[in-house]
Point group: C2
Chain length 218, copies 2
């Protein structure tokens, strides 16, 4: 079996973490850098990632489960790290201009192409923006692209993870408003190592639709 398929077979959603096991700082740096390198439409990068690693920050995240989704609350304390994945619901041309500036500074884009890229690229954001300036459905899709990349990266690093849509976006928005800086968090990713003998989801066969139901080859 190819390494890629093996990695994807081994990844699964951890249901119980071993609180004594921490992800090494070397691996955390790889995870951050890999997420930073995630592709996105027009290189929009319409996102913000809050990495929770201290006990204090974990407690703050824990408190956001006060009302809803309490079945996920224990991950806040037991997992090694959590990333809040957040998208920008009002991604403006000015914000995109900053990304295009970085393209020029990095040597990726010739300076004389700056405005072409800005106008031609932002047209795609425009197509997905309503009259109130909301384009959160589009930016959220880009965020999930980064999430898909992150889950593959964690599989390669043999780190367990739990993607959670079961988080209280309102309480997170309040508690982490400063860090989120206008971004919206509807999904969080707990990471760490499963607790031996206590994680009912560990080691089970993968359950996916058969290939001929999801792929049509023409």
């Amino acid at each position: 079996m190819h390494d890629i398929i093996q990695d994807l077979h081994h990844r699964y959603t951890v249901k119980k973490y071993d609180p004594s096991k921490r992800i090494s700082s070397e691996k955390i740096e790889i995870i951050k850098e890999a997420i930073r390198l995630s592709p996105s439409s027009i290189n929009s990068q319409p996102w913000k990632f809050i990495l929770i690693e201290t006990e204090e920050a974990k407690q703050r995240f824990h408190d956001t489960f006060a009302i809803k989704f309490q079945f996920n609350q224990h991950h806040a304390i037991e997992s090694s790290h959590i990333i809040l994945f957040a998208y920008d619901p009002h991604y403006t041309k000015e914000k995109y201009a900053h990304r295009v500036d970085v393209e020029v500074e990095s040597g990726h884009l010739p300076a004389e192409m700056h405005d072409n890229m800005l106008n031609g690229g932002y047209a795609f954001a425009d197509l997905n923006t309503d009259e109130a300036g909301f384009n959160g459905n589009w930016t959220k899709a880009q965020l999930y692209l980064a999430l898909g990349n992150a889950l593959h990266v964690l599989a390669r690093l043999e780190i367990g993870s739990t993607p959670m849509e079961g988080v209280d976006m309102d309480l997170i928005g309040q508690e982490f408003s400063e860090e989120l800086d206008g971004h919206v968090c509807e999904v969080a990713l707990a990471m760490g190592y499963f607790l031996e003998g206590e994680d009912y989801n560990h080691g089970l066969p993968k359950a996916r639709l058969p290939l001929d139901e999801v792929f049509k080859v023409i």
Copy 2:
């Protein structure tokens, strides 16, 4: 540099394919299987993938650029393969029940948990469904998770790719209505190998926001 970071540095958006180079059938099988194994919220798998590999199918895709996004049209003919990524805009509980059936059949879920999973899981889809039964923003996000996984897989396989939101969803919907079976395609992924000396986007430095702008560590 870690392999993961190296792979992500090497991946980029191909702007010109070498039409003489084809992805091997072994690698195509890995790509299909890896996409099939993509995670999604509640294991919803609300997607359909159309893999275009014959000249005839490429011509049909080519024709969908008749009105819009003609700058992407050449990829339809020059790339080795294209995948149409499509999401289900009306993902019902009945459709989810079929996924839960597969969970039981695969040995992943105990049969007596079937209804718990169905009701508890579908609650997340419900939260994202409007009165008309539309939940396409949520299913599209899941699809982009699969796209993020796919792009990482292609990087590992050293296959070039071009994610294209610049596709005509209406003409694709008409031309491939039978294959799409009610799913909506707003993004396609061309794959193959770049044309030496003709791809202006090849080998350029990566342009991403600096780590401290996208990550906040607490």
